[in-house]
Amino acid sequence: MEITLVLGIPLLGGLLLALVGHRRWAPELNSAMSLLTFGAAALLTGRVIAGGPMMAMGEQFFVDSFNVFLVALTAFVAFTTSLFSRRYMRIEEHHERVNSHRLRLYHSMYQLFSFTMVLCLLANNVGILWVALEGATLSTVLLVSLYRTPASLEAAWKYFILCSVGIAQALFGTILLYFAAEKVLGPGGTSLLWTHLYEVRHQLEPTVLSLAFVFLLVGFGTKVGLVPLHNWLPDAHAEGPTPVSAVLSGLLLNVALYAVVRSKVLVDGALGRNFSGGLLMGFGLLSVVVAAFFLSRQKDIKRMFAYSSIEHMGIMTFAFGMGGPVAAFAGLLHMTVHSLTKSAIFFTVGHASQSTGTQIMDQIRGLIVQSPTIGWGLAVGSLAILGMPPFGVFTSEFMMLTTAMHEHSWATPFLLIALGVAFAAIFGKVQPMVFGETTAHRLPHPPALIPVFVHLAIVLMLGLYIPPYLVAWYRQAAALIG
């Protein structure tokens, strides 16, 4: 029931807004739909906490402790982002960067995007997951090019080509998976269902599965933004409207990573951990280090934070690669805090670039003078994302690092150096934007900053105190991932 709601509302919203998305009150409708989705997700979460995992629609959809909290998180961030996009898009309209047609496209696609996200998370069928993930690309690609500027078109084109090609590899992986599963489960629908695959994962053919995992990793990894498959990410984040950047960083990457982890668990069953784990750790480490060094060269603010997303995805990938209860816990926690913090940062960044009329960091100065809330939001958000206590990002990084120190001590120097470099880079660029003589102007509409501080407050809380039920929840999920 709840599952239908969670899936149905955004789909409905998408269709609805495709018709009325250009109206004056479309943004409110958008937020309302997102709110409803969030409510449904909350219900669903409640059900799962109470009654444990559940299936729906003939096993095509399922919820377990791993994906349910991601559903909740996704719905929540989608909702807050829609609140932010309300004001943001109004201001964009006021600056005449978008017209009503594009707004219609935007709103409808926004809903469809969140639909594909939850579909991806809830799908029990690997094929459907694949379809949904490709659908996510399709629904966002036109948003990335919403402004129709040369740069945005280029970004969108790269995004489209690279992600489609990548996802095609994932499809081949899926086929191989099916190929292997069919031998055990026999032909027909069931042999692509996660739930069934898990049960038989020890009997699956190792050679096929290793091949399949490679294809899946390359495919989904492209979407996660693992180096060297990451090249679409900074462009797409920098050129699209900021709400889109926020959901891309905050949700899409998470969901893609979710797919990777799911397939990892499957392959671990067949081949033992160190095969997939090794690959993930390698990709993760590479992403962290490379992204950290990219950071210091950025001129465009959104591009910089896009790279920081790559870095954090690398951290999570590394954590999941290490495996084990603590590392997996850290990975999940990091998923949560990163998507909250990063989306909050993008909210402030969006308003900052609106109030200064540019995304070039050298021209953004003294935000704190013009609008203290934007300034403080950006400063605090960046410090949080840099792993400064008492924010939650530090919590997960602490757990991850301490685990790495005695399980893979060779990796820790690289990680720490990367963290140091990233700190110097990001902080060195954020500080002058926040402080100093201002270049900002008043915004035509008041900025939407409640979402920012709500997110940051949650992250702060997670840094000092993780509620018990959340802990239990993470623990179950971690146990599931192994």
Binding site: N231, S296, G366, P432, F435
Partner: protein, 679 residues
């Protein structure tokens, strides 16, 4: 959980104190009437809390350790709190010194705008609370959280006047180095942990390390905490950041925050790692001596008062490190008693430095408020406009110059006494090495005296150098001397300078208790049973010092002389212009400037500095002499590292050339490579 039956215990007490600091900072956020709160209420309350904390700390020194856990933090690592004598001592330091500074701040910040003031009050008390938690923390996670929160809050305080580019860059450098240090500390915890148990300090204590890993942990801790303490070569942030902050904050940072780094060092090296080795001590001695000399030599070159004081903080950290190093050497060679003496000297100096450096920074703040000047070369004759500040500042200056009978002398005296214990060492090289460090300490002491003669003589004595002395302060609009609150704060610290200088033996007992608890050995009984008058480190035959008697005698004879002179000779006095050496046009510009005062030092220690001098050419109508002194460390350490990072990133940037075909190629190769790898 916090249970009420132990609510009297120092641990709960200090926890409550820290929490109430947080509460005060929360109070400052109340939009309604936060003008009143921030202006009148916040800082005095903070001072009271500080006093309470000091009391609890003092109490904790004499009690056995006490632990508790809070239902916060990581799922399987809740916040652990612990108070033992060492923590108690530092809590007392934090509380008592911050009390004085807060009172001062209450007066000092009056003239700020409400918005800024609210912000300052908030960050200020978060800063205090985080320092308290650093000292209370008993597990790696809480420690790191408090540690970084401390860095963060102080960073925002430093950048209060963020419109000045210099201050921004100072803040950046500060937070960056602090963060790198924190990373090192985190790594150190990881090394100590060694892969079993959790991250409570008890577990870390219990973990047994190979000598190699112990040394690695030591190095990480030493440099991690050293970065915060401002020891070379990681000191570069300190002379930038401390002057940048508002003066009470500078006082907090120099006076207290650096000491938390010392606390961390002692806690980790003596307590958690344990098994101190004498080689470590040698390293600490070398770095300490270097830091000390570097600090004082560069201080002598400064003409910005607060910058000068900041460099002196570097120097004093060096002195503390000397004490620590000696104690490590002695302990490493199996002479815990002498080791205890060294540790006591170090801790005592930490306390002393907190007091007098705080006092000096407050004095500098008052000067800044009254005249708007930071450049010594423009000051002069302030003793006439602000006599009270001049008096307190004099006490501070004498104290930091290690002159008897004030407190600075006592701790340096103890350090010397430690050095004089070397005959008991077996290793003859080390035996002859340690006194050399004592020699450098003597040199540094004398140089400090010279530097503060310069500061006091230039700032307070003589005549105003530039005519731009405003009669009324540009900041407060109040002319002349500092206000009551300010004066009270300074008086508190000045009084503590005297007390620490005059009753050292009672503090010696206190510190001895700490050492006994930390290293298992205290001083000899003969040292302890001597009366409160006498400071006796080892035995009265070897050495003793009685500041009270000293003071009494010196006062007595001086008064006696005075009375005799008065009694037997007439007191006729004529006032006239100073003697002009037959050169009638004496202007105040002819006085020595701060830079001129440093000139002999530049001459003697020329190679130490990186100087750029501009000599005025002979037929220059308005001749100006300009001098720029730079820190060599920039050129051999900081800039190369920055360039390396820049180079690497420029190479990595070649990955991304915008060609979609290339990107596809990446994916392609990744795929192929992985497939090959799998086969």
């Amino acid at each position: 959980m916090i249970s009420l039956e132990v609510s009297a215990s120092p641990l709960t007490g200090s926890l409550l104190a820290a929490v109430s600091w947080l509460a005060i900072s929360g109070l400052a956020l109340i939009p309604a009437a936060n003008a009143f709160i921030a202006r009148r209420l916040a800082f005095p309350l903070g001072a009271l809390v500080g006093l309470a904390l000091a009391a609890f700390g003092l109490q904790a020194i004499w009690l056995s350790p006490d632990q508790m856990t809070l239902p916060l933090g990581l799922p399987d690592l809740p916040f652990h709190l612990r108070v033992d004598p060492l923590a108690g001592f530092f809590l007392m330091l934090l509380g008592s010194v911050s009390a004085g500074i807060s009172v001062y701040a209450a007066g000092y910040f009056r003239s700020e705008t409400v918005q800024r003031l609210t912000l300052i009050a908030l960050q200020y008390h978060v800063f205090l609370a985080s320092m308290a938690f650093v000292i209370l923390a008993d597990d790696a996670y809480l420690f790191m959280v408090a540690w970084e929160t401390m860095a963060l809050s102080s960073y925002f305080l430093v950048t209060t006047d963020h419109k000045l580019p210099a201050i921004r860059s100072a803040g950046f450098l500060y937070l960056l180095i602090a963060h790198l240090g924190a990373i090192a500390i985190l790594l150190c915890f990881g090394v100590m942990h060694g892969g079993h148990g959790d991250y409570t300090f008890d577990a870390l204590r219990a973990a047994h390390l190979q000598p190699f890993w112990a040394t690695v942990a030591f190095l990480l801790a030493f440099f991690g905490f050293g970065a915060k303490a401002g020891m070379i070569p990681l000191h570069a942030w300190l002379p930038e950041a401390h002057p940048a902050a508002p003066s009470p904050v500078s006082a907090l940072m120099s006076g207290i925050m650096l000491k938390t780094a010392i606390y961390g060092m002692v806690r980790v090296i003596y307590d958690l790692i344990g098994g101190v080795r004498w080689e470590w001590g040698i390293l600490v001695l070398i770095i300490g001596a270097g830091t000390m000399l570097f600090g004082v030599l560069y201080a002598l070159m400064q003409h910005d008062l607060k910058r000068l004081l900041a460099y002196h903080s570097v120097e004093n950290i060096g002195i503390i490190l000397l004490g620590l190093g000696m104690s490590m050497v002695f302990i490493g060679f199996g002479h815990p008693v002498a080791g205890a003496l060294g540790l006591i000297a170090a801790l005592y100096h930490a306390l002393n430095h907190a007091v007098f450096k705080g006092l000096l920074f407050l004095g500098a703040g008052s000067i800044l408020h009254a005249t708007g000047l930071r450049n010594l070369n423009d000051m002069g004759g302030l003793i006439r406009t602000m006599p009270k500040v001049a008096f307190y500042f004099l006490i501070g200056a004498l104290a930091i110059s290690a002159l008897p009978p004030l407190n600075g002398f006592v701790s340096e005296w103890l350090t010397f006494q430690t050095a004089l214990q070397v005959p008991i060492l077996q290793n003859s090289v080390v035996r002859s090495l340690v006194p050399l460090f004592a020699a450098t300490l003597a040199l540094a002491g004398a140089l400090t005296a010279m530097c503060f003669v310069k500061v006091y003589g230039i700032a307070f004595l003589g005549q105003p150098r530039e005519a731009k002395h405003p009669a009324h302060s540009p900041v407060t609009g109040r002319g002349g001397d500092a206000g009551e609150m300010e004066r009270f704060g300074m008086a508190w610290l000045a009084a503590s300078c005297l007390v620490l200088g005059l009753f050292p033996s009672s503090f010696l007992l206190m510190l001895n208790r700490i050492c006994a608890h930390l290293t298992g050995h205290g001083l000899s009984d003969q040292a302890l049973e001597s009366s409160w008058l006498w400071l006796v480190p080892t035995s009265s035959v070897q050495a003793s010092y009685a500041p009270i008697i000293f003071l009494l005698v010196i006062v007595a004879v001086t008064l006696l002389t005075f009375l005799l002179v008065r009694r037997f000779y007439h007191g006729r006095v004529r006032f006239s212009n100073p003697w002009d050496c037959g050169f009638p046009e004496q202007t105040s510009r002819m006085q020595d400037t701060a830079d001129a005062f440093g000139q002999p030092i530049r001459h003697v220690f020329g190679p130490v500095y990186l100087m750029q001098r501009h000599m005025p050419d002979p037929d220059d109508p308005a001749p100006r002499f300009s001098l720029k002194i730079e820190d060599r460390h920039w050129y051999w350490l900081y800039l190369p590292v920055a360039r390396l990072a820049e180079y690497v990133s420029s190479k990595i940037a070649l990955l991304q050339q915008g060609k979609i075909s290339i990107y596809l190629l990446y994916s392609f190769f990744t795929l192929i490579a992985l497939l090959v790898f799998v086969r």
